[in-house]
């Protein structure tokens, strides 16, 4: 492959990544370093300050960050547990029924999300549980897909081998299926964690005053109070948290694997 063709193949992708990922991040970072607006506008152009980040050390924001972490872990744990059970159930169905069941699980993603959340709001009292349930509800189709694909990819001969060695169904699950589905479980947990850290719709529609996440808070700062630099600083912190979940967890898993070997 010569230079022209490699540029032609890589160029558009690189432009897309730069235009849609890197440049918005750089702009966000820059906005977080402006001083708040005096008079008209959202910030004071030409200024540079770390004051917005210092504001984040405020106990109110820290408690919001704490709840955001809690929300991430709760959504990850609950979605993993439910998705695993659903994944096992799906794998036990005949192929045609699997398709129907998968379709039903994916319905929330194809129907209007807001409509579904309003539906949930009708019967769930606002509060912590409702906010978490809503977020689990939103991420669950992805988690189920991840787990389902992982379990379905397990070689069925391994279960037969375990059976032939004397294992009963529970022992096969505990000693073969479960450990071999760890990669899918890990991915589903990571997905749930990233989703829960960025939770917005659930806490907004179904959470109470104490169930404010960083995403809800930065939305308020930006669109209710017009404090764009502070909202941008909160967004940067949120991105660091989500980025840590995206990159940090696999790194820990790799270290554990190396130690294991």
């Amino acid at each position: 492959m010569n230079r022209t063709t490699s540029f032609l193949s890589v160029g558009p992708s690189a432009a897309l990544v730069f235009g849609l990922v890197i440049s918005p991040l750089l702009l966000l970072l820059r906005v977080s370093l402006y001083e708040p607006a005096v008079g008209r506008g959202f910030y004071s152009p030409g200024t540079v300050t770390l004051a917005n980040y210092a504001t984040l050390a405020d106990s109110h924001i820290l408690s919001i960050a704490g709840f955001t972490l809690f929300c991430g872990l709760a959504v990850a744990t609950a979605s993993l547990a439910i998705a695993y059970l659903l994944g096992i159930f799906l794998c036990s169905l005949p192929a045609r029924q699997q398709l129907v069941a998968l379709g039903l699980i994916l319905v929330p993603k194809t129907a209007g999300l807001l409509a579904m959340l309003f539906g949930l709001q009708r019967w769930l009292p606002r509060g912590l549980l409702a906010a978490i349930i809503a977020e689990v509800y939103l991420v669950l189709p992805y988690s189920v897909l991840v787990i389902f694909i992982q379990i379905r990819s397990l070689n069925p001969i391994l279960g037969q081998a375990a059976r032939g060695l004397g294992a009963n169904r529970w022992q096969i699950f505990q000693r073969v299926t479960l450990p071999l589905s760890f990669p899918g479980m890990f991915l589903a947990f990571q997905l749930g964690l990233m989703w829960g850290l960025g939770a917005f719709l659930g806490p907004l529609f179904l959470g109470g005053p104490n169930e404010t996440t960083l995403a809800v808070e930065l939305h308020r700062q930006a669109f209710e109070y017009g404090r764009w630099p502070l909202a941008a600083a909160e967004a940067v912190v949120l991105l660091v948290l989500v980025g840590s979940a995206a990159l940090g967890l696999p790194a820990i898993a790799r270290l554990r694997k190396v130690a294991h070997l």
């Binding site: 070689n155 032939g164 060695l165 004397g166 294992a167 000693r175 450990p179």
Partner: protein
């Protein structure tokens, strides 16, 4: 006399009596959908025998093995292991070790843990597990470094040994081997085959192996059963099957075969007469002309046109033969075998 669907003695041992049988199949049939892939198979295997089910792909031999292991339940017939009816018993309650063609080693467990699996799920004490695992790994010759490796870090031959050790660790009375040598290269296959025979001799476990390789079957087994289209065509010692097959299919499947109509040799006109190429001698009675010569290192294989039939002969490579040579052949009477007329679907 060869047997079909019957019990047999192991070569060199006392003739089989019902008291020492390990496996008995009684008219076992199994199908996928409406098509039967195993048809009315009856077979009795004495304790300690090495039995090979031999046949082409799709003949039902692996299905029969899975029926023995309890992975499938027959539609008709009964299966007995050590005199106990196990027809509907699941694999975990059968006490049968199985080595799968792909080995089916647990990828998340190292060799030692794989071998310990069957003992642990049976609730054996950890000290006994350790002791038995080491003993069986010694027996299959896996080195101490290899024992801590994961399947992905082991070669094909090493994985095969682990699979064998895992199947033997809980000391089952029956060992099933599903094409255990198929994934190995030619050199390793012979080496592992010899090891399988050695381990079988040491453990004296009744072994049933499935293969499509006739050399493997003849070289390893006390008893060979040849299958075609779900039926067990003939059961016998390797020598019986090779020398005295009861059908053209068995004759051809076990090796090169000259099958000549009996009338051409002045024998039973309704029968086919078998003579193996290596039993044809260069002599004086049947004049012919060499049509093709293939050099095989130690041997030469030649096609010789004799009046109105072609004979394949195998002779030592030191013999000088060339296409077009006029030679004469002898067909020693002792080496001719009439295949009964009623079995002549070819």
């Amino acid at each position: 006399m060869p047997h079909t669907g019957m019990s047999l003695p192991i070569a060199g041992t006392a003739p089989f009596s019902g008291a020492n049988e390990t496996i008995r199949l009684e008219e076992v049939s199994f199908g996928y959908g409406s098509e039967l892939v195993v048809k009315d198979v009856s077979l009795t295997i004495p304790a300690g025998a090495f039995v090979t089910l031999l046949g082409p792909s799709g003949c039902g031999k692996t299905t029969l093995l899975r029926l023995l292991g309890g992975y499938l339940v027959p539609e008709r017939g009964r299966i007995f292991l050590q005199g106990r009816d196990v027809t509907t018993l699941p694999p975990n309650l059968r006490q049968v070790g199985m080595v799968f063609q792909s080995y089916a080693l647990f990828p998340h467990l190292n060799a030692r843990q794989n071998v310990a699996f069957g003992l642990e799920v049976r609730g054996r004490a950890p000290a006994i597990v350790r002791q038995q695992v080491d003993a069986v790994l010694d027996r299959v010759g896996l080195s101490s470094e290899e024992r801590d490796r994961y399947p992905s870090q082991l070669s094909g031959g090493q994985q095969q040994r682990v699979a064998l050790a895992r199947a033997l660790a809980f000391e089952p009375p029956v060992l099933l081997l599903d094409e255990p040598l198929a994934s190995l290269d030619r050199h390793l296959r012979e080496q592992v085959r010899l090891e399988l025979c050695r381990i079988h001799r040491q453990s004296a476990v009744t072994t049933v192996m499935v293969t499509h390789d006739q050399e493997e079957a003849l070289a390893s087994s006390d008893i060979v059963g040849v299958m075609q289209s779900g039926r067990l065509l003939q059961v016998g010692t390797p020598r019986e099957l090779y020398d005295r097959p009861l059908s053209p299919f068995v004759a051809r499947f076990l090796g090169d075969a000259n099958l000549i109509e009996g009338r051409r040799l002045g024998m039973n006109p309704t029968a086919l007469v078998l003579i193996r190429p290596e039993r044809v001698q260069i002599g004086s009675n049947w004049p012919g002309r060499v049509m093709a010569v293939n050099y095989h290192g130690a041997d030469l294989v030649a096609d010789v046109q004799c009046s109105d039939f072609v004979l394949k002969i195998r002779t030592r490579a030191v013999t000088e033969l060339a296409v077009g040579d006029a030679i004469a052949l002898d067909l020693p009477q002792d080496n001719l075998w009439e295949i009964p007329a009623e079995s002549t679907p070819r």
